[in-house]
């Protein structure tokens, strides 16, 4: 249970990084990335994933298929 950032769509705006309650988002070599080991999809903190909420691009942050 985690989210991931679609590399081809991320514009590296960085809006998602500060809103992550678990500090799972970091700037990678190419675009921002989500640490799947710590991402909780905001469960327990918020009703909806905060990164998805602030991301300006549609369908850029998606659930990782298990």
């Amino acid at each position: 249970m985690a989210l991931y950032i679609v590399e081809a769509d991320c514009i590296s705006c960085g809006d998602c990084e500060p809103v992550c309650p678990t500090q799972s988002i970091t700037e990678g070599a190419i675009v921002f990335k989500i640490d799947k080991r710590t991402c909780t999809e905001c469960e327990g903190d918020f009703d909806v994933p905060q990164c998805v909420k602030v991301c300006p691009i549609d369908n850029c942050i998606l659930p990782l298929e298990a």
């Binding site: 514009i11 070599a29 190419i30």
Partner: protein
């Protein structure tokens, strides 16, 4: 309406001529022009206009203005200074420039990217690939008279919806969000630079390691992109 019959070129020049006059928008100038000549307004009729007619028309609407500014507006109208003002549009057909992206630059003088997204005179639309850039269109984003739009910024963004990137010197936050929603990437420049510089810089990025979203816009296959990305990751 007579303006509907206006040629694109002439309409652009009326807009520009209005800008040369203080406190004048295209609508005001058009009203005065309508008094100078009989409808419809044509190139030939505009070419025959003289300074005195313009100055005294419409019960002296422009009579308080200096002869020099009126003369300047007139020369813009008559296209006698046109080559200095608007560069020529080059024909473009889909597929002419492989791996190209279409960009728009907000400009007030057709030389620099110096426009505010919500207020610039023109969007200079270019098709750019690594080696070539073509000016494919010059668009005004003014709302046509009589048309009611909910949101000016959405309307303006829709005029350049075929572009992937829009370069501006300034853009408001909510407007930027609307631009992004239409799939256009707004780029706010820190200082005023020429259109040529902006394009050269973009071409440099395109030929080096384009960010994935740009590579996607360029139509570079994901497999090819992968190679770029590994190189980027390695450096």
């Amino acid at each position: 309406m007579s303006q509907n019959a206006l040629s694109r070129e002439l309409a652009l020049r009326i807009g520009l001529a209005a800008r040369a006059l203080p406190d004048t928008d295209a609508k005001r100038l058009l009203t005065v022009l309508a008094h100078c000549v009989d409808a419809p307004l044509t190139e030939a009729k505009v070419a025959a206009l003289d300074l005195l007619t313009l100055k005294t028309a419409c019960r002296g609407e422009f009579s308080h203005l200096g002869d020099d500014v009126l003369q300047q507006a007139l020369s813009i109208l008559k296209n006698t200074a046109a080559e200095k003002i608007l560069p020529a549009i080059v024909a473009y057909q889909e597929g002419d420039l492989p791996n190209s992206v279409r960009i728009a630059c907000a400009s007030d003088d057709a030389i620099h990217v110096n426009g505010h997204f919500g207020a610039c005179t023109w969007f200079m639309v270019y098709q750019v690939n690594r080696d070539e850039a073509r000016l494919v269109d010059i668009r005004t984003a003014d709302i046509p008279q009589g048309l009611v739009v909910d949101d000016k910024n959405v309307f303006r963004a829709e005029q350049i919806q075929d572009c992937k990137v829009v370069y501006v010197t300034s853009v408001g936050g909510p407007a930027a969000a609307k631009i992004v929603k239409l799939g256009i990437h707004p780029m706010k420049l820190a200082e005023v630079v020429s259109l040529a510089e902006v394009i050269a810089e973009l071409q440099q990025v395109m030929s080096a390691t384009p960010p994935p979203w740009l590579a996607k816009a360029m139509g570079i296959a994901a497999s090819e992109r992968f190679k770029f990305e590994r190189e980027a990751a390695g450096s």
